[in-house]
Symmetry: C2
Subunit: 507 residues, 2 copies
């Protein structure tokens, strides 16, 4: 009832959001500029700060303020803010501070071990650190509580209100729809080679990605771009959003599509309503919805012919030697080739979700104790063959390829698949709302789409859960119909083949 409780709570929320921002800087720095020998020191700093964050969140007075504020709140934004905050706090209250600190240390140690294992191309260098991380995550899941399925407790952290029982059938449906699609499309989008052996000078790629960010409408005075091995979006505040990209001097795709992807995340972060800054509402309701924004820009816009009709002359001007003889349509086909690949981040739109199906099934088995860490590389390779249809040459191109497990993140991967589904549904709604959308894109005018996303998604932050937000926009919740329709239309045209029928909707 009492205003003073809400004021005290707001002050604590500001403090926690500031600490969260500082943690963002520590991890951004760890991936970009931290000197090689400072790994242990950074691990200690992260553990200390995460411990303090935890203490300040679970402190008993915060529980009292929260209860009083909940009784008094009537305005919808305040109620939404309290709901998001309670969610985070209830989780945290159940996890002892010692576990929080142990996890922070194990995460830093995991990153170091993963890097070592990759450089030696030996998974067993990573085994002890990964085993420790799983042990701690199991402990965390049990502390948070679950109805017999530990994975639920971890999944819920990234995708609130999603469960393993609901997720696995969605992924199975995707598998059964995508495997025949990949069979039909693998190698079917043909054209002359574009990237083979051509040189794309790294510094010019870097300058091009910065120019691209400007064209897309990323505010480079409220954010920046740096380089890292594994691209990500981080930062400390909506006025300080930090993207990273990765440059391959033989191929501009990782840099260009990486920048498009992180731009989607970054535009979302920059778009939270200023009145929500320093509160729990200045965040996405789920990683799946966040990923929908990166996928929308990377794939639905960023691999479309209208978009490249605008951008390709600029890319060609940056690399006249390499691209002077390559036509727009051949370039467009080259960046939409469907081809089985062992590497998730290089996968095309059609095979991509199969990589998620694979990882999610392994995560669930690891958390259920049905799979030992020692057996993970073999399980990975077997499952890769069954799902994607090929075997990796070694563990660097297999089980060691992603940073997520090294950082102790289990339950994160499925949000990528959810993001692909949400992105297709949101794009369908945007096309309906903006009849001249693709003509504008073809002229490099992205303002209408940015504004539509800002109005419908970004500014709202965490006011509604992800699926409710999507439903409010599209009239429907989570569905694979828009995604599969998009794939069939696009790749039917690109390949000229007749594709296998869609599964029965809702089956």
């Amino acid at each position: 009832m009492s205003e003073p409780s809400l004021d005290a709570l707001r002050a604590r929320m500001h403090e926690l959001k500031d600490l969260g921002g500082v943690l963002g800087l520590l991890t951004w720095d760890q991936e970009t500029y931290l000197p090689a020998k400072a790994g242990a020191a950074r691990a200690a700093q992260l553990a200390t700060l995460q411990g303090l964050y935890h203490q300040r969140l679970v402190a008993p007075e915060v529980g009292e303020w929260l209860e009083r504020a909940e009784r008094g709140a009537s305005d919808p934004d305040t109620r939404a803010m309290l709901k998001v905050f309670r969610r985070e706090r209830d989780h945290a209250v159940r996890v002892p501070e010692s576990l929080v600190r142990a996890l922070a240390e194990a995460q830093s140690a995991g990153l170091e071990a993963w890097r070592q294992a990759r450089s030696e191309r030996r998974f067993d260098r990573f085994t002890p650190a990964l085993t420790r991380l799983l042990e701690l995550r199991r402990e965390q899941a049990d502390a948070v509580g679950h109805g017999g399925e530990r994975y639920d407790a971890l999944l819920d952290h990234f995708e609130p209100e999603m469960t393993t029982a609901r997720l696995l059938p969605v992924l199975e449906r995707l598998r059964s729809a995508l495997v025949p699609l990949v069979d039909a499309l693998d190698g079917a989008v043909q054209g002359p080679p574009v990237f083979d052996g051509r040189a794309f000078e790294a510094e010019r790629q870097w300058q091009f990605t910065l120019q691209l960010l400007g064209l897309l409408g990323f505010d480079l005075e409220a954010g920046r771009q740096d380089r890292s091995i594994h691209p990500f979006t981080g930062g400390t505040h909506p006025t300080d959003v930090r993207l990273t990209t990765r440059i391959d001097a033989r191929n501009p795709s990782p840099a260009v599509f990486g920048t498009l992807h992180e731009f989607g995340h970054g535009l979302y972060e920059q778009g939270f309503a200023p009145e929500h800054h320093r509160t729990p509402l200045a965040s996405s309701p789920s990683m799946g919805l966040h990923e929908s924004q990166s996928r929308l820009w990377e794939n639905l816009v960023g691999r479309s012919l209208p978009f490249w009709g605008f951008l390709y002359p600029r890319l060609r001007a940056a690399f006249p030697e390499a691209l002077g003889g390559v036509e727009l349509e051949d370039f467009h086909r080259a960046v939409n080739r469907v081809q089985r690949s062992p590497i998730r981040v290089e996968a095309d739109e059609v095979t991509y979700n199969l990589h998620i199906v694979l990882r999610t099934s392994l995560e669930v088995r690891l958390l259920r104790d049905e799979l030992a860490v020692e057996d993970l590389p073999d399980a990975w390779n077997t499952e890769m063959e069954r799902t994607v249809g090929l075997r990796p040459r070694d563990d660097v191109e297999g089980v060691l390829q992603d940073i997520h497990w090294a950082h102790g993140e289990f339950g994160y991967f499925p949000t990528y698949a959810l993001g692909n589904l949400y992105a297709a549904s949101l794009m369908r709604a945007a096309e309906q709302a903006l009849p001249s959308l693709w003509e504008e894109v073809a002229r490099g005018e992205l303002g209408s789409l940015r504004t539509w996303l800002h109005t419908n998604v970004h500014q709202h932050g965490a006011r509604l859960p992800a699926e409710e937000r999507v439903q409010a926009i599209t009239g429907e919740g989570l569905t694979d119909a828009d995604f599969l329709a998009y794939l069939r239309a696009k790749y039917g045209a690109l390949s000229g083949r007749s594709l296998p029928a869609a599964p029965v909707p809702g089956a």
Copy 2:
């Protein structure tokens, strides 16, 4: 008496040292990579973290642990550690958290206002922020306590055990010795022009400073170098020491001597004994002693003829067009020119301390309320004429030139003069201990000097107060005799002039 108290205290010290490291990252980032619009967000993050640091330091349980640990400690390192910690805590206990937060916000606002004032070349844009900072520093001085001289309380923060009453006569002695020296030497070190109008490409300067750091022996796996407007040494831990440098494309001196200067600071930070890491002993006992390390490398080594005998061929190879026709001796004379200049960071070794005399006298008057902020530019210009012998063209080249006041630091400037005096005394001791020092320097072998500094200064951290540390090495405490003898010998030879007599020692 009780071990448990010491253990609990150590854990808190580790936490505080981690938080200090994180604050180091936030300020480093603010000066190097922070996006333009994120100033307010960063100010809030800094204020929050400084507030938490303060809370965790002054918490009552810490006082109890400290008292019990003091009663039980007998080992000298533990006693020294407790002494340093008590010093910091006693200061902090007297300063309320609200003042700490207000200062953090005023510091960030001060930096912004100073940048604005510089870009508009208008001091009055900076007046309100500086007035506010002085107000808060007076409040802080009164809270900490002093015997009628507020400046003492601020000075003591940077140079423990130094007082205004002791400092001002030292500076007056320096003024009376240096003014006639500058009169005799201004323009007397002659030679052909070296930098006028020649181009020193920025990227090559940058590469040269990195190569220089390697030659000097800075561990680039336990530190890094970046660029900033005002060079500084920061970082988060002895394994993560961050230098910055500033590049002027018409003149390599700011970059080269800036790198030499910050290297001196950085080598000190990297050298703290590992067993002291994450404790208060892993720090310098005073800023003056810290500055002695930067001055020793920048000036006593870095402007010597033997050093350039080794380095000059490398610099010439980096800039063959600009330096191809410049002989070593002419270059050496050019970087040792004595010339009145309005800018402190560009001042030569002879005039430099006069800039400190000027700033210190103004600071003391500001803190004594004998000088109003509005009158500061006039007072600066008048005092500059009296001490250095010229008037600045405008406030950017005058009172707005340094970042220190913008960051609310009063009492810091005099430590530069103390550093110059300590550096000369330490160098005399090193020369006595290492008879072939200068022959080694001429061959680019800096290992003996680095080891001597590590053994005598760096590894000890804050075990002894600054002057006791110097006394333990040289047999004498603070003295201007070594510094003035060094100047007379070096510049007598360079100018070929007979110089005015030294003042009576100890007068």
